[in-house]
């Protein structure tokens, strides 16, 4: 059984309800878009609200999550990793075992189904960085018989070549974006340009908890299946430790796997929520994507329709980011994370490329799991975390995806010239 979406609404009982009707998470979020797109966003708000309450839609989504995506994904007790650190019990939420190999499909399937069933739109455009979101969108478009165009930066196409081929096999039209930094941010620009041009028959299937309202809340709701399942599995002594985790760790690119994991725990005050950003070659190097960690470049700004922390230069031009992981290589972060951080409900740290690679190797050797380089940032934070937890604590890690797509990158880093 897949945990039902309805459960989300009880989560609001803890007091405040974000976002507000204007799509604001406190001072963050909103709708900073060209006027042309406003009607499409209003329409999305409506269908999102309808879908959340429509039992027929929920049944269809849940049934596909179960029979097609393979949910619920398992909770794995990482015994050897636990032993390795000699500290707290470590559990892994295995989004890497979802169909297509990452959490991205939860959102892609939900949005595509909404748009197809309720709006009747049949063309989907998407951006992709690591290619995992693009593969998920291409997959659900094949499943639901929809036309699919994926924009991807040239740099990312080179470093995630297997995913480009996968998308094309699945029938997607993958279009190379060679403007700007040729990574995720430029792919988003291009997807938005396509959307502006074709808005009457096209849906923009945004892949993270980012962008203009209602995307951050819609993506969060669709991804909260991760946290709802994990919470139930943790509490169930036949599957997990029979208690809530003391600490939850997730990597933060745009922030969708993290918010999906965090949200169902937000009301549990004893659960620490830790997000890990991409520290690249270190903050000093200015080659990173740690929006919260760089007081100089990471400031409040507006990018891609939402107000949040944005890496930018002194003049407000968006900075070029760097991460070994394409999926975390982005200049802004979902607005709800900025709010959770302000309220000290979640804490944010960063892992350098080097720490992430160490996390990658560690999980391969200790657990026989090859993680995505994105997820390796969450694992890579564990050594630091150990000094900050007691040995009877329980730690839950969001293993957002698997690493097959990253083998070329890791090979070049770990065995240059091999």
């Amino acid at each position: 059984m897949v945990d039902s979406m309805q459960a989300i609404f009880s989560a609001d009982d803890y007091g405040v309800h974000y976002p507000d009707s204007r799509g604001k998470f406190g001072p963050y979020g909103g709708k900073y878009v060209p006027e042309t797109l406003i009607p499409a966003l209003e329409e999305l708000e409506e269908i999102h609200a309808t879908a959340m309450q429509d039992a027929g839609f929920q049944d269809e989504l849940n049934s596909l999550l179960e029979t097609y995506v393979g949910r619920p994904t398992p909770l794995t007790h990482a015994r050897r990793l636990t032993e390795h650190f000699g500290g707290p019990e470590i559990y892994l939420k295995r989004e890497d075992l979802a169909h297509t190999g990452a959490h991205k499909i939860n959102n892609a399937l939900g949005q595509a189904l909404m748009v197809k069933r309720i709006l009747g739109k049949n063309r989907v455009v998407a951006e992709t960085g690591a290619g995992q979101h693009g593969v998920a969108v291409a997959t659900v478009c094949a499943l639901l018989d929809m036309e699919c165009v994926v924009y991807m930066g040239s740099v990312d196409m080179a470093r995630q070549a297997p995913n480009v081929f996968r998308m094309r096999l699945l029938g997607a039209d993958v279009r190379e974006v060679s403007s700007g930094s040729q990574t995720l941010k430029d792919a988003i620009n291009e997807a938005i340009r396509d959307w502006v041009t074709n808005v009457p028959d096209t849906h923009y299937l945004l892949g993270s908890a980012l962008g203009p309202h209602p995307f951050p809340v819609m993506v969060r709701n669709l991804q909260s299946v991760i946290g709802r399942e994990a919470r139930r599995q943790m509490l169930d002594p036949s599957v997990g430790p029979g208690q809530l985790p003391d600490v939850v760790v997730a990597c933060v690119g745009g922030g969708s796997n993290a918010i999906g994991m965090f949200y169902p725990f937000v009301m549990d005050p004893g659960v620490r929520l830790l997000g890990v950003e991409a520290g690249g070659r270190g903050i000093e190097s200015q080659k990173h994507a740690a929006r919260f960690a760089d007081p100089k470049m990471g400031r409040l700004g507006v990018l891609h329709g939402t107000r949040s922390y944005v890496l930018q230069d002194e003049d407000g031009q968006i900075a070029l980011t760097h991460s070994i992981s394409a999926g975390l290589d982005y200049a802004s972060v979902g607005p709800e994370h900025a709010l959770l951080r302000d309220r000290e409900r979640a804490e944010y740290f960063y892992c350098t490329d080097e720490q992430a690679l160490a996390g990658f190797e560690l999980l391969c050797r200790q657990e026989g799991i090859i993680p995505a380089l994105e997820s390796a940032h969450a694992v890579g934070w564990l050594p630091e975390l150990m000094s900050d937890v007691s040995s009877d604590d329980v730690v839950l890690v969001s293993l957002s995806g698997r690493g097959d797509k990253d083998l070329d990158t890791v090979m070049a880093e770990l065995a240059p010239g091999a």
Binding site: V33, T36, G180, R193, G301
Partner: protein, 272 residues
């Protein structure tokens, strides 16, 4: 001191448009990207447009992620940024143009982040001092415009909002209520760039906007030759031209060719 100095920015814009208002006439508003292809050339381009008959100016401020722009303006803003053009420099260029005797109203066209980063209130103050009369911010709909609106109101400067073919009656009402100076009507679904023809629905679209407001309506996105400027003049109050000018200035004999195109655009808009 001339009479212009006693007017607010909104009034100067309204007055420049009113001078050309008529059944078959409209104001000609060229877009000049500041710092492109170089600072000096952008200054010369403004002079050349003024000579050719520009009634108002739209001055582009470059931004790294121009998501409402097509390939021409993307490449041009990229070049302007490589030249080291900053928001502060754009304000200085405008000041220099005022000092050189250019009197037409200036509208700054900038994406929101550089303004937000500069500080909206401080930006408007500095822009007013540099000689700006109004602002066009493609990614700032009225829903998010409160802070800018307030600062503009205080300074007497215009905050021009946009409408599009996809706009509902509700949005038309909201935008016409909040937009000052004029309404920027985006003629097509899509990004900036040259189009072979103007869409058939444009007449009805302008009529829909007019039914809700007395504020002038200027049409932009895709207007690229004298004939199209004349078409716009027959239904609206202003013709805004950007990409066609940039494409032309980059072509053979750019400086002369762009002046020649500007004359044709002005003639088309002015009805002769």
């Amino acid at each position: 001191m001339n009479g212009n100095d006693c007017m607010t920015g909104v009034e100067r814009i309204r007055s420049a448009i009113a001078k050309r208002q008529g059944d078959a006439t409209a104001a000609f508003m060229p877009y000049v990207l500041l710092g492109f292809p170089s600072r000096m050339e952008s200054v010369a381009m403004v002079q050349s447009m003024a000579d050719a008959g520009a009634d108002l100016f739209e001055f582009g401020f470059p931004f790294s992620d121009p998501l409402a722009d097509g390939p021409t303006l993307q490449a041009a803003t990229h070049k302007a940024l490589l030249n080291g053009t900053t928001t502060r420099q754009c304000l200085d260029i405008a000041k220099e143009l005022r000092d050189a005797g250019i009197t037409q109203p200036f509208c700054a066209m900038s994406y929101y982040n550089p303004i937000f980063n500069y500080g909206p209130a401080r930006f408007i103050e500095d822009a007013a001092r540099a000689g700006f009369d109004g602002f066009i911010i493609p990614d700032l709909p009225p829903d998010e415009g409160e802070e800018m609106e307030e600062a503009c109101r205080e300074a007497g400067l215009a905050l021009v909002y946009l409408l599009a073919p996809s706009s509902s009656q509700e949005r038309v009402e909201l935008v016409t209520e909040h937009s000052t100076g004029f309404i920027y009507l985006v003629s097509v679904l899509g990004t900036t760039g040259v189009r072979a023809s103007l869409p058939d629905y444009l007449t009805d679209l302008v009529a829909l906007v007019r039914a809700n407001t007395d504020t002038p309506v200027c049409v932009g996105f895709g207007v690229s030759n004298g004939t199209q400027a004349a078409q716009v003049a027959s239904i609206a109050d202003g013709a805004i031209v950007a990409s066609a000018l940039i494409d032309t200035v980059l072509g053979p004999n750019g400086a002369d060719a762009v002046k020649c195109l500007a004359r044709k655009l002005a003639q088309g808009a002015h009805g002769h």
